[in-house]
Subunit: 332 residues, 2 copies
């Protein structure tokens, strides 16, 4: 084992488990007698030499780090350019690494962070400085190159599935006279893993979610509306999970939050559920039908004690109650 | 104890605990030997004589009901008009109640449901039919008349506080180069209880939430922006909790989702965080500053092992990294 220190830094949006990764890095390095420095606010801390000496923390504190929310050392949204275009900063980084005898640089982030780790590794090699660089995977979207399942995806997938299931139960209870089409917007600009994970919420065609819109498939409004209508007719309501990144065949995002750009220059998406046919003025928003009442008492079968599929309801009697915006599906 | 059955119905949006109320009603009635019928989909089920006989369910099933999500018997968004304007439906309701010898009518909902229970009570009295009507409180907003703390508020308050705390930790980790002003929209059209409950997330002026906007106070953009700026200058980021119902002194809602009405004819609110100064084109969206790097290695104090308040950072070195949209607050 060579001498030297290990530098760890966090980058990009924090996940539920990014600190668990940090704890694992620190504990494993400690076990091998390697001192770990953590950069404050990601690569910025490395460039500024804002380095936290984790060896001052107890084993219990590092163990607790695994269950600590947020990003314990601070993260950042900063992308370095190419080696040529950003040479001053790469040189600065190598200067800081040398000053602290850093021989392992672990950058905990997404594809851009792995790319930065690669460039630093190339620079160190060409400079004759012995340095091992590792991009440590982190994302909720599960869209990292050559990474099958990424830390951060599992917890976000569970959250998505649980949230969809909870919301679907509320929708089911209210569907006759309130929301019949519920749309859950899942993150994942170009990767449908999180939206697909919502499928864990139910079993079979009649359980929510009934429709999942993935960014990998072109969004077709007519097909979507026909599917929604079919589900509402059959089940009584329809729970849709839409990826924020769904786009039409010509590449136009369905949801564009309106001019905003994030710090990487990407359009801010969001609000897919309020767009086009889904919005209050669209085809789904306009689907309002009158409610109806039942026949005289005693002239229909009693319902059993368990909630059923909506079959066996009474037929229409008088006109619907005030402001009731949905129909009685059981007029059959 | 007189003979007769008890009719229970759920109304309005379901809460996390509406089924716990149902379970309590059924268990207490059983203990007194009273049979409980539950209307399917609220008052609609009573009008249609869609009544679920809960006596067919085991004690264990009723106990489990207390922990069952959604609205087990179905709820509805239906508001009956005055006795005069909606006489046919009130008469129909009384007809169904008589047919099943219902002597207790418990309507589990908000202010409108309590009003319906009152009207049914008045009608029964004027008809010489012995009927006890009770409005059983249910809301997440805690805005029911003559009700101090309503079932449904506590769980929503806890969810709000926990969500704000979780989000604030993520914002804190990212604030230097990403979101500095985070706005959480809380429900409560005219009641600030849920927004105020977010205050449980932190202690003191520097812990999130830093600003809570209540619908009971007029929203003043200039005052709000000045407060946000002061918090960002002092803490580095600002977490705001805004009630969906905040309005300017002249009564204009800050967030109006754009023309949609709910089934009670109220404007659909939502999206307060994307409006005016808060939106991507507004004063807060435009607050972007260049980032900066540090001095040569070894010329500044090392940071301690614990994350601090942002004091003691290095001064600016070279120009900021690509697409970094926030400033280095530590140039002091």
């Amino acid at each position: 084992m060579r001498n030297g220190t290990l530098l760890y830094a966090q980058s990009g949006g924090v996940t539920a488990v990014i600190n668990a990764t940090a704890a694992a890095v620190i504990e494993q390095a400690r076990a091998k007698g390697i001192k770990v420095l953590a950069a404050r606010n990601g690569i910025l801390g490395a460039l500024r030499e804002e380095l936290i000496d984790t060896s001052k923390e107890s084993a219990a504190a590092i163990r607790a780090l695994a269950h600590t929310p947020g990003g314990a050392f601070g993260s950042c949204r900063v992308k370095l350019k190419s080696l040529e275009a950003d040479r001053a900063r790469y040189d600065r980084l190598l200067e800081v690494l040398r000053a602290h005898d850093v021989r392992w640089f672990l950058y905990n982030g997404g594809n851009d962070s792995a790319d930065t780790a690669l460039k630093v590794s190339q620079l160190a090699k060409s400079s004759g400085y012995d340095l091992t660089c590792i991009g440590v995977p982190k994302t909720i979207d599960n869209d990292l190159a050559v990474t099958d399942t990424c830390p951060g995806f599992g917890s976000a997938a569970k959250y998505t599935a649980v949230s969809v299931r909870e919301a679907a139960l509320d929708v089911a209870a209210m569907a006759e006279t309130s929301t019949r089409v519920f749309i859950y917007e899942a993150m994942g600009r170009h990767a449908g893993w999180l939206a697909a994970a919502a499928g864990l919420a139910g079993n079979g065609d009649d359980e929510a979610p009934h429709i999942i819109l993935l960014p990998e498939r072109a969004y077709d409004e007519a097909v979507f509306l026909a599917k929604v209508k079919a589900v509402v007719d059959r089940v009584g309501y329809c729970v849709v999970v839409a990826s924020e990144g769904i786009a039409t065949a010509d590449g136009r995002f369905v949801a564009d939050a309106g001019g905003g750009k994030d710090s990487f220059g990407h359009s801010q998406l969001g609000g897919v559920a309020g767009q086009g046919p889904i919005g209050p003025e669209g085809a789904l928003g306009a689907a309002r039908l009158p409610a109806a009442l039942g026949p005289p008492p005693g002239q229909q079968d009693r319902l059993g004690a368990s909630a059923g599929s909506g079959q066996g309801r009474g037929a229409a009697g008088t006109e619907g109650p005030e402001r009731c915006d949905a129909g009685d599906r059981a007029q059959q």
